[in-house]
C-alpha cells in the first residue's frame, strides 16, 4: 500500500470539485449542477454558520479550499453553493501494520429558500423545491463517488521515462495519454480498495437553516507507509537519575581502581543504599560487600567505607579467586578473603551478625565465613556461617565451641549468623530462622574474620566454593532486620540478573 494521508484525500476532493463543468441552460448559468465550493473543515456545523468557512490567506495555493468566487487574490473569502465540506470524525489505528482508518463526514450543502421569492424571472436554481434541491445534492455526491472510485495510484511514463507518480482519475490519465503528455501508466493501487462504510447518515431539513444538506459518512484506509521511525533508545527525555551520595563514593573508588559500572547497576546498587537508609539499618553495618567491576581490585571494597585500607575492612583476596561483575567466586581449594574485622577489637560480644549470599548449590566441606577462637585455643570464640559442611551445620556466634546438627538443605541464598543478646544465637536462611540455639559461653575471637572461608587460628583456613554475591558484617540483626536485608538484597540480585 502506498502512502496516503488525509490531506491527499482532501486534495482529491478538491480536484474533483474544481473539475466539475459549468452548466448553462438557455445561456444562463445553472450553478446548482456543480460544486462551487470545496472546503476541508475542522468543525462542520461551525463552518456552515461561518461567513469565511474558517479559511484565510493561509489556504491560498493549497488544494484544501476551492471556490469559484475566490481566486485568492483578495483577503475576503467568498464562496457560493452548492458546496462540499469534508472533515474527519474518528480515527482508528491498527497495532499491526502501518495503516489507519479515518471516518469522514462529507456535507453537500445548497441554499434553499423556505418561501418562493416573489420576483419575476426566477432562475432554475431558485425555483427548485426542497426535494429537488436534495436530489441535486444527491446527484453531486453520485458524481463525486463514481469519480473517487476511478482514482488509481499510478506511475506515469513518457516513453521509458517515468514522469510522475501519484493519485489520478482514470479519466485524467486517459486525457493525458490522448494529448501525448504520457505514453502509458502503471497502476500500483486503487482508491476503491481504500474506501468503505459509505452511507448517507442524515438529511437536514433545509427549512430550519436555509441550507439543504446531504450528509455522507465514509471510511478511508490511510497509510503512513513506514514514514515514522521509532525514537532511538535511550530516549532523549530520560529522566534524571539520582544516585545515593555514598553509592557514588563507592562507584568513584571502583572506577579509580580500573573498573566500570553500568548505569543500570549503579541504579540497582544505589537502591540498596537508599533502602538500607530508609529502613534504618544502614548504620548497623560495619562493612558490606557488593561485587562490581569484575576485578579483584574493584570487588575488594567495603561499600560502606570504600577506602583501600585494612582499617576500612577492605578485602584482601588470597588464592585463586575468579572475579565477575556480580560475584566473588572462590575455588573451594585455597581461597579466602580477609576482612580485617576482628570481633574482639571491632565488634560487640552480644550484638553481632555476619551475612553471606551464596549463589552456589554444592556439597562438600565448605564454610562461607568465619573465624576460630581466641589465642589459637581450640573452639573458643568461634564465629561462622557454616550451614552445610558435608551435611552438617555448625552454629556459633561469639561463643565457646559450637552447636552442630543437620545441614541446611540448599546452600544458595542469604545466610545470616547472628546474636542480639547473651542468651541465644540464630542462623537464618533468607528471612527464615532455621536454627535458634541456646547460648554457649560468650567469648569473641581475636583474629580477623574471613569471607569465602573460615580463618583457622591464622594458620590455615576452611574454604568454600560457593560464589559470594553479597557479604556483610553488622549488628542489630533482629529477625525483622534480617527480613528487611533479605528483601533488599534479593531484589538487588534479581535486578542485576545474578539470581
Amino acid at each position: 500500500m502506498v502512502a496516503f494521508s488525509p490531506i491527499e484525500f482532501y486534495n482529491i476532493l478538491h480536484d474533483i470539485a474544481q473539475s466539475m463543468p459549468f452548466v448553462t441552460v438557455e445561456g444562463r448559468d445553472v450553478t446548482s449542477r456543480r460544486l462551487n465550493t470545496f472546503a476541508a473543515t475542522k468543525n462542520l456545523l461551525e463552518i456552515i454558520s461561518s461567513n469565511s468557512l474558517g479559511k484565510d490567506s493561509r489556504y491560498i495555493g493549497k488544494r484544501l479550499f476551492y471556490s469559484t468566487k475566490w481566486s485568492g487574490q483578495d483577503s475576503d473569502i467568498k464562496y457560493e453553493y452548492p458546496a462540499l465540506f469534508a472533515g474527519p470524525s474518528n480515527e482508528r489505528y491498527e497495532v499491526k501494520g502501518d495503516y489507519y482508518y479515518v471516518d469522514y463526514t462529507l456535507v453537500f450543502g445548497d441554499k434553499f429558500e423556505p418561501k418562493m421569492a416573489q420576483t419575476q424571472n426566477q432562475d432554475i436554481d431558485a425555483s427548485r423545491t426542497f426535494e429537488e434541491v436534495q436530489q441535486t445534492l444527491r446527484d453531486l455526491w453520485g458524481v463525486v463517488f463514481v469519480t473517487l472510485k476511478s482514482y488509481v495510484y499510478a506511475n506515469l511514463f513518457l516513453g521509458s521515462t517515468q514522469v510522475a507518480a501519484g493519485w489520478f482519475s482514470l479519466g485524467y490519465l486517459q486525457a493525458l495519454k490522448t494529448t501525448g503528455s504520457i505514453s502509458r501508466w502503471a497502476v500500483t493501487d486503487h482508491f476503491s480498495t481504500l474506501i468503505s462504510d459509505v452511507e448517507a447518515t442524515e438529511e437536514v431539513d433545509g427549512n430550519a437553516s436555509k441550507i439543504a444538506t446531504h450528509i455522507v459518512s465514509l471510511r478511508i484506509k490511510h497509510s503512513s507507509c513506514q514514514a515514522y521511525q521509532a525514537l532511538p533508545t535511550p530516549s532523549p527525555f530520560t529522566p534524571a537519575i539520582v544516585i545515593d551520595a555514598d553509592a557514588q563514593i563507592l562507584f568513584n573508588a571502583v572506577e579509580a581502581a580500573g573498573g566500570t559500572v553500568s548505569i543500570d547497576k549503579r541504579i540497582s546498587v544505589s537502591t540498596v543504599f537508599t533502602r538500607m537508609k530508609a529502613e534504618g539499618i544502614y548504620d548497623d553495618f560495619y562493612a558490606f560487600y557488593l561485587p562490581m567491576g569484575g576485578l579483584a581490585a574493584t570487588n575488594k571494597f567495603n561499600a560502606k567505607n570504600p577506602i583501600d585500607s585494612d582499617a576500612a575492612f577492605r578485602l584482601l583476596f588470597v588464592g585463586g579467586f575468579t572475579h565477575t561483575e556480580n560475584a566473588i567466586v572462590p575455588n573451594g581449594v585455597n581461597t579466602y578473603a580477609n576482612t580485617y574485622f576482628t570481633p574482639s577489637v571491632h565488634g560487640l560480644a552480644t550484638d553481632t551478625a555476619i551475612s553471606y549470599y551464596s549463589l552456589t548449590e554444592s556439597t562438600g566441606t565448605y564454610i562461607e565465613m568465619g573465624v576460630s577462637g581466641i589465642g589459637g585455643a581450640s573452639g573458643v570464640g568461634q564465629y561462622n556461617i557454616a550451614p552445610n559442611v558435608s551435611g552438617t551445620s555448625f552454629r556459633t556466634v561469639n561463643s565457646t565451641g559450637n552447636t552442630s546438627g543437620a545441614g541446611v538443605a540448599g546452600t544458595a541464598g542469604l545466610f545470616t549468623a547472628a546474636r542480639t543478646d547473651a542468651l541465644t544465637m540464630q542462623l537464618y536462611k533468607n528471612a527464615t530462622l532455621v536454627f535458634n540455639d541456646g547460648s554457649l559461653p560468650i567469648t569473641v575471637s581475636d583474629k580477623p574474620m574471613y569471607m569465602c572461608g573460615r580463618n583457622v587460628n591464622n594458620a590455615s583456613f576452611t574454604p568454600t566454593n560457593r560464589a559470594c554475591a553479597f557479604g556483610a558484617i553488622w549488628r542489630n540483626a533482629t529477625s525483622s532486620n534480617v527480613a528487611i536485608l533479605n528483601g533488599i538484597i534479593t531484589d538487588y540480585l534479581t535486578e542485576i540478573g545474578a539470581i
Binding site: L295, V318, G320, S460
Partner: protein, 76 residues
C-alpha cells in the same frame, strides 16, 4: 569415574611456595601456596594461569595434580 570431576591443582616446591608467599598475581589478589592433604605444596590452577607474564611465570608450567583436601576439624 564417569559423572564425576576431579579438582586439579598445580604442584610446587616448598621453595616455590616460599617465593609466592606475600606476592600478588593481580592487584588485590595474593597467591596462596598451601599444603594439601598429602603434605604437598600446591597452588590453584587459576593462580598458575594468571601467573603468565609475571615474575612467577614458572607456575604456568607446574605439574597439574588432583587436589587432596587437608583434614577438616571444626574444633580448631
Amino acid at each position: 569415574m564417569a559423572g564425576t570431576t576431579t579438582t586439579t591443582v598445580r604442584k610446587i616446591t616448598k621453595l616455590g611456595a616460599e617465593a609466592l608467599k606475600g606476592e600478588f598475581f593481580t592487584e588485590g589478589n595474593m597467591f596462596n601456596p598451601m599444603l594439601d592433604g598429602n603434605g604437598t605444596w600446591i597452588v590453584s590452577n587459576k593462580e598458575a594461569i594468571l601467573s603468565e607474564g609475571t615474575p612467577f611465570e614458572w607456575l604456568y608450567t607446574a605439574d597439574e595434580i588432583p587436589f587432596v583436601a587437608p583434614s577438616f576439624n571444626m574444633d580448631l
